[in-house]
Point group: D2
Chain length 311, copies 4
Amino acid sequence: MTMPTPPTGVVPPVCTPLTPDREVDTSSLTRLVDHLVTGGVDALFVLGSTSEVAYLTDRQRTLVVDTVVRHVAGQLPVLAGAIDTTTPRVLDRARAVVESGADAVVVTAPFYTRTHPAEIARHFRLVARDCAVPVVAYDIPMAVHSKLPAELVLELAGDGVLAGLKDSSGDEGAFRRVVLGKRAEPGLAGFAVLTGSEVTVDSALAMGADGVVPGLGNVDPAGYVRLYRACRDGDWARARAEQERLCGLFGMVTVGDPGRMGGSSAALGAFKAALHLRGVIDCPATAEPQIPLSAAETERVGKHLATAGLL
Amino acid sequence: MTMPTPPTGVVPPVCTPLTPDREVDTSSLTRLVDHLVTGGVDALFVLGSTSEVAYLTDRQRTLVVDTVVRHVAGQLPVLAGAIDTTTPRVLDRARAVVESGADAVVVTAPFYTRTHPAEIARHFRLVARDCAVPVVAYDIPMAVHSKLPAELVLELAGDGVLAGLKDSSGDEGAFRRVVLGKRAEPGLAGFAVLTGSEVTVDSALAMGADGVVPGLGNVDPAGYVRLYRACRDGDWARARAEQERLCGLFGMVTVGDPGRMGGSSAALGAFKAALHLRGVIDCPATAEPQIPLSAAETERVGKHLATAGLL
Amino acid sequence: MTMPTPPTGVVPPVCTPLTPDREVDTSSLTRLVDHLVTGGVDALFVLGSTSEVAYLTDRQRTLVVDTVVRHVAGQLPVLAGAIDTTTPRVLDRARAVVESGADAVVVTAPFYTRTHPAEIARHFRLVARDCAVPVVAYDIPMAVHSKLPAELVLELAGDGVLAGLKDSSGDEGAFRRVVLGKRAEPGLAGFAVLTGSEVTVDSALAMGADGVVPGLGNVDPAGYVRLYRACRDGDWARARAEQERLCGLFGMVTVGDPGRMGGSSAALGAFKAALHLRGVIDCPATAEPQIPLSAAETERVGKHLATAGLL
Amino acid sequence: MTMPTPPTGVVPPVCTPLTPDREVDTSSLTRLVDHLVTGGVDALFVLGSTSEVAYLTDRQRTLVVDTVVRHVAGQLPVLAGAIDTTTPRVLDRARAVVESGADAVVVTAPFYTRTHPAEIARHFRLVARDCAVPVVAYDIPMAVHSKLPAELVLELAGDGVLAGLKDSSGDEGAFRRVVLGKRAEPGLAGFAVLTGSEVTVDSALAMGADGVVPGLGNVDPAGYVRLYRACRDGDWARARAEQERLCGLFGMVTVGDPGRMGGSSAALGAFKAALHLRGVIDCPATAEPQIPLSAAETERVGKHLATAGLL
């Protein structure tokens, strides 16, 4: 089996624009894809947490992948989440996105159940065995309540089970173990190590990461592309300046009142409000049962955009 | 809208027998249903955690509900889980089980996402609004990583959103707040408060609970029915003796080596091994990626059965 | 070594009254002791979580034990917490309370450090080896962030390391495993299994527990004594009625605004406000950095007292 | 009040060498201090987690600070932990270390109790009000089970309550918010932001951190000093090479079998084994109830030293 290299560089997790009655707004979605492609990104990741995958029905999920794959028409690789609780359900979701034309699937550890490292390993092995495209592991303890151990990731990479890692754990020490473990093993040259952080991209790339999957990249793809290129050029001062501008912009995820809404509502609400304010999407609605930003909160998102030079 | 009273009494969460290649074994499933009905249970709960709902594909889930509803043919009410991450997905699952003939749906708080009590309330309100049958809340923090506050449960019950509660939190103090809150409010007389515990059923019924949803009830339905009746008769000494026998039997969930497998593998593996040893189902397999019990572990399940007088 | 049986029955964890400038108010403390003794309790537990042990300096801790031991003058046994992070520090605290005359020490698992079941076992073994009085294990995961496994408690009891268990875990299923494990082993007849719950005392005693350590017992010792006696008499209807009255009274711990203060401030603040309103202590102050109840919150404590017939 | 700037640069948390019977080995301790000073470190931090502060009695704690302060004799600043559960106890510990001559105290959020952000703020304000030397906040969620919010740290810094932050949270995104928040506020120029990470020091310094408090710095102080200087010189390639060598060395904390011991035993056991193998301290014993490394595990520590060029 030849394992095609998964995408590297800037790979934004694409937001899913919704209509006011919570249907997928495909014309806003294709405008968003154009906005990202124009921004210079290297690949797209649909049906991740930032895409509100946990809130989309199966029909809507398929509509999203179909729409994006058809629209990019091979210009860029499209990764798609196959996010579900356990192996048989993930395989069903993986088949669906592969049928829609996804180039790779992104898969988490089992959730909802009480799991174990041995079961997590078995899960990825079984998914990869039966999946027609490369599998990227999605390490997101905030959602699945277990952390993928660095050693397990490297073992599965070495066995050809995993083609990449998207690390949204926020644990930069463990991330670095994967980066260094990859470098120590020539056979892992094609394994893609991607950070899901918005605010430590320069650090991650300086360590040797292959790319970044920033939710905030929906709002400012060109900024992340500049950041990525500065890092690749070894111009760390320029990278740091760009990263710090993006850190300021990322402050938008804190405008939602934590006494009134959860973290997903606040972060996804801010990204969508920003895309709406920038004229990319028609409606900033997030899926149910998320709580919408207030008018005052939305105004503060606008101030973040203005400060970052985006309005 | 008249809200039909949900079932009370002994309501086992029905295991899903699988074939060696992990397909639903419908003939074992109907034999298991007969075993439960013969045991005297009051209703059945399919597609809960004990049913391995998190491991069944949508097709398998529908096959399970169809099979059970057709087989019980109205002799007993059938509750069905509509277990998924958020409102739109839960509504899809609820429609499916209602179409298959479920008499009520059982729904958890959102999971995978970072949620908030206000979003949990909104979730249940939206599900109940669009669902054709009564909604029972499923409080299972171990799986969804948030606890349903007693006050929220009572508020939603008072508003006609919830028809019942299945409490698998293990927090007997909070459970009692719901029981006492219900009693204080005449309008909540029809609200069913059910414990998901196997080992504190006598306590829960003494407090005033309406019923019990014991996973171990698959293995010994008659035992739980005797326990329930002893409690209803106010014969607490008899209830305690029966409960203590069942506590001993429940020790089977600890035979699986925790160094080698997770808690779901151990508990569901033990229940299925016991059903296989008792001749109720053809194969003890659990779904992927769970780790099977070893031969020695299965033998220890047999000893638990023998001690409890079930072999 | 003969292991003296630790106290059973009603063993309130004694609040530590403070002056407005946060010094131990010894005259209020002895009045509180009189209030408890008059209420009919079987023993006293000082320097537990309800005593604000985590907020008292070593000097204040010693003053508390000295004051209480001298005042009860052998009428009742006095247990004392030796609450600190690890073995050497716990031993220092144990020596101090033994010197003050405590009849037994109460000890948690290690905290602050990243511990392990093998280290927890070693901790209790070393403490018991070097401690002149019986050791009672204090299972309080909310504080120490690990749970004492039932099997470990029974093993340590069997080896004469532990003389009793105070279970504040809220996990009634695990508590029952200890109760049943004790009963199965004749050598454990003297091992005291105590629940720390205020609201499931009838359940715990019906299961076979030996006693109860209720923080709310400061406010209404006579109520817990009546409850205990009703259980010992096997009059479960009377027990349940008394317990339900106490459950209503326990509602006082929710009057403190959780947006403004933590759970310790709310619970200890309510107990002290109630003791102050009942005229038992001079000042309701809690130790720094706890947040005081507002006047309106204190008024609601008073309503709980009135409803329970205590004002 | 003028708030003296706390130390920056490389500030190792000094291990506490013990004799085989677990007494403080003061001659090994002074040798260790010489080893660190010779290595070129900028200051010393005693009585932190790496010093086994949670395992030392009050007498031993005082002996440690006295010994180190007397031995360094003003050559370097000495920070000391005042690690205890709440405000009154922390103040007692702070007074003790100030009396011994510590130049600053390091203080965590309250632990063991159920706390709240408002109580955490009040705690630091009260400690700083009554403490004669500058207060550095110690953010260590792994130990205290709450995270210091970046905004709270900045607010307390702005009010002159905190002189610095030692961040052992592993959350580099939140760390960066503090670094950037400090830079945005000219009044905070003297506030020292220190990372407690061993493996992302180059990243933290590139972001703008003021220093590092690496436990592994006991083993290889010269390595961390070279790393710090390379960063200060802006020689990121040299910094990265040094950091990666130290990442390899840090692998020693994983030699202890996690099935047999907790994370503190494994990490502190490895550091002490390495110091013993390097001839700096006489005995590698860790305090009770930690589990010692086996001979085979110690041998693997030696291999890590050899690979890093330290044996």
